[in-house]
């Protein structure tokens, strides 16, 4: 981050005061169009909201730990689960993963910057403004009823609850507007990443020599283009209904609440893949480096990713089996959902084959990725279970579903995000994260995760519905709920350790050097942190592992790759 030591303008002899220097530093971050600085801003922003969203989760878990609890009021409880979901998907997941893409894609493909640096800055600030708008509702969402109130309609915001008659005040509008605004930011970033990858690659970096990280980001960005925009369209319709008296979702005028569900899940399901494909991208970089082998089945990985993106757009109504569809509709969405398992299975086998026979180093990034493979497999299997319509009729909207998608969102995506931070932190800051704290973080988080979410499956099987404020003591859910909540606390402790590690290692961590992991992609050929111009000389590549070629001139990859 200390990549620019520019003198303060207007200071010739006198050293500037601390205040002026701070202001100049802040100014440099606000006006920056550098992809690395924007990437850092994205990740820091997402980490900030990760803590907030995590705190909301803890409030939910305290409320549910014992039956008949009154830790928070029912109104606040509704706000908590709405804000937890919305925050984690829109203000943590996507900014975090697009932050990584922003920082890493230009470095990996040997470019000077993104294709449109100013659009990049615009996108970040739109996203940031969206997040602030959403949280401003705690203060400003009062409308007719006096005090501030956050959105409380669930992150899926089903009609007709969102109609003006049932959700008076402005909090639902804050929800819709915040997501439209951050949606435009996301759209801008997706366009930027696509243009960067297609048009900015360095000499010799053909599409099939790109690191898989870049490939998957290309697929994700393409998917984002057609995923975020339906949500934007549906939000515009919702606002037309709420502000202009429209009738899109007004059943009394002939409108339909089910149409909202379709539109929401046409966004909502591919969104899962928008979040999980970057997690795959991270695993694709980390697993080979720590197994000391090139990735197994590169073309299969690429085609599986593209396949997942396509299939993911035809599965949305598996969120709606209980709404009622024709048997043909049910069969179609059952089969299409199961089909996702094929490309995903290919990926899991490829990761296993990459590890197979490798000299595995279990440094913290690899620990997180190994746990990811295991947990993602389990999440996929419960996904196949839920894709069976009769099974889903039994368990829809139960904690089994919550456990399933948290296995994906936490067990796969958050684990990969942690892995990525341990892996690339040395490149970004020039310092290593503490391995000892990292191991503590991993094991605590791993144990906490399994205590919480393994148990949650059973609470769901016993029939506990999602989004309920509290429950009677005689349902047989008491012990299990207590265990789930304890697991949540363990995870929170692990995350606080991680934050401490981030701060402490930034100040006192060991020097990283250019290439602490002995990796093979282009970003590790630059100094840590990389200079603003990235590469002093434009790189030229001949294989998928350009740094391997440099380090092993007698045995370069390009002899074997076609």
């Amino acid at each position: 981050m200390a990549d620019q030591a520019l003198p303060i303008s207007g200071s010739l002899a006198a050293t500037p005061s601390r205040g002026a220097a701070l202001l100049e530093w802040l100014h440099a971050w606000v006006v920056t169009v550098d992809h690395k600085k924007l990437g850092i801003l994205y990740v820091v922003y997402a980490l900030f909201f990760l803590l907030i969203g995590g705190a909301e989760a803890i409030i939910i878990r305290i409320q549910l730990a014992v039956p008949n609890a009154h830790f928070v009021s029912p109104e606040v409880y509704n706000e908590m689960f709405t804000m937890h979901g919305t925050t984690m998907v829109f203000l943590v997941g996507m900014p975090m993963l697009f932050g990584f893409a922003n920082y890493l894609v230009p470095l990996m493909i040997g470019a000077r910057d993104m294709a449109f640096p100013r659009l990049n800055a615009f996108s970040f600030w739109m996203t940031a403004f969206g997040g602030l708008l959403l949280y401003f509702s705690f203060v400003g969402g009062f409308g007719l009823y006096g005090m501030g109130s956050a959105p409380d309609v669930g992150w899926w915001a089903y009609a007709p609850l969102t109609a003006k008659a049932f959700s008076p005040g402005h909090n639902t509008d804050y929800w819709a507007l915040a997501l439209i605004v951050s949606g435009f930011g996301t759209l801008g970033t997706a366009i930027n990443i696509i243009a960067t990858i297609i048009s900015m690659r360095c000499r010799g970096m053909t599409l099939f020599r790109m690191p898989l990280f870049a490939w998957l980001m290309l697929v994700v960005s393409g998917l984002t283009l057609v995923t975020i925009t339906p949500l934007t369209a549906a939000q515009i319709m919702l606002l037309i209904d709420r502000y202009l008296g429209g009738h899109f979702f007004d059943t009394q005028a002939g409108g339909s609440a089910v149409v909202w569900m379709h539109f929401f899940w046409i966004f909502g399901h591919p969104e899962v893949y928008v979040l999980v494909l970057p997690a795959f991208a991270i695993a694709n970089e980390v697993i080979p480096v720590f197994s000391r082998k090139a990735i197994f089945g590169y073309p299969a990985m690429v085609s599986a990713s593209v396949g997942i993106a396509f299939v993911s757009m035809a599965v949305w109504a598996h969120h709606m089996f209980t709404v009622g569809m024709t048997s043909v509709g049910n069969a179609f969405f059952v089969l299409s959902t199961m089909m996702v398992g094929i490309p995903t299975g290919i990926k899991i086998f490829n990761w296993l084959a990459t590890m197979w026979g490798g000299k595995i180093r279990f440094a913290t990034p690899m620990l997180f990725c190994t746990a990811f493979v295991l947990q993602f497999l389990a999440a996929g299997l419960t996904g196949i279970m839920l894709s069976v319509a009769p099974w889903d009729w039994q368990l829809h909207n139960s904690y089994f579903v919550i456990a399933h998608f948290h296995y994906v969102l936490v067990g796969a995506i958050v684990f990969c995000i942690f892995s990525a931070i341990y892996y690339w932190y040395p490149k970004v800051t020039g310092r290593m994260l503490s391995e000892k704290l990292g191991k503590w973080h991993f094991w605590l988080f791993f144990i906490g995760f399994h205590v919480t979410f393994d148990t949650m499956h059973f609470v769901g099987l016993l029939g506990m519905p999602r989004s309920i404020y509290t429950y009677e003591a005689d349902r047989g859910w008491n012990t299990l709920n207590m265990i789930v909540s304890i697991g949540g606390i363990i995870q929170a402790v692990a995350v606080l350790l991680f934050v401490w590690n981030l701060v402490d290692s930034y100040l006192h961590g060991a020097e990283a050097g250019n290439d602490p992991w002995d990796a093979w992609t282009l970003e590790w050929s630059t100094p840590s942190p990389p200079p603003p111009y990235n590469f002093a000389i434009d790189p030229v590549v001949r294989s998928r592992r350009p740094l391997w070629d440099i380090k092993h001139p007698n045995d370069p990859d390009w002899k074997y790759e076609r």
């Binding site: 515009i236 037309i240 429209g246 009738h247 790189p539």
Partner: protein, 194 residues
């Protein structure tokens, strides 16, 4: 990296980032329009009360104006590519004029619907879907007209040169998209839905 000898293709050439970016935007915009079109089609005939699509007049003149503006902007692109700045300015002005005519035509159509027929966005479900779909397209026309006007001003001040051809063509992609969407909207609203 200088240790790697240059083996790569000597004429390493990648697509223009402007075109790629604009095409990506068009894909995203198409998804927005798809959702609005699907809503319109699904809600045809489901309005519980109030006016029906039979009150609509088919805007032939408007449609001809907008679609022919795609041809004139193509002629403008063609002209700037060959460095004929005057021809470019002429065709660009015609495009701008045709686009503006379309917008005025929409305004006249809407004012008739609102004042004479009493159809507003809150009257009934048909009003909601009609104004939002046609309005979404009209919004894109407005954005396009702003862009066209900016380039027109630059042309009048003599700041447009042959080297700007690519940027002009990237912008023209957007205008072609707005025209193409109108074909869909026109078909759905004035032919299928009426």
């Amino acid at each position: 990296m200088s240790t790697i000898p240059i083996f790569a293709d000597e004429n390493w050439k990648l697509p223009s980032r402007g075109r790629v970016g604009m095409l990506s935007l068009i894909i995203g915009e198409s998804a927005i329009f798809t959702i609005f079109v699907v809503a319109y089609v699904y809600y045809i005939g489901r309005s519980a009360y109030g006016p029906t699509p039979r009150i609509l007049d088919v805007p032939y003149f408007n449609t001809v104006c907008l679609l022919s503006s795609s041809l004139t902007i193509w002629l403008a692109e063609h002209a700037i590519e060959r460095g004929k700045i005057r021809a470019f300015g002429l065709w660009w002005a015609v495009t701008l004029l045709l686009g503006a005519t379309f917008l005025v035509g929409t305004g006249i159509e809407w004012s008739r619907l609102i004042v004479v027929e009493g159809l507003t966005i809150r009257t009934n479900l048909f009003g909601t879907t009609f104004y939002s779909l046609v309005g979404l397209h009209a919004t894109h026309v407005v954005v396009g007209l702003v862009g066209l006007s900016i380039v027109m001003l630059f042309t009048l001040f003599g700041r447009i040169e042959q080297r700007h051809a690519e940027r002009i063509q990237v912008f023209a992609l957007y205008w072609h998209f707005v025209d193409a969407v109108w074909v869909v909207v026109f078909t759905v609203v004035y032919i299928v839905g009426r």
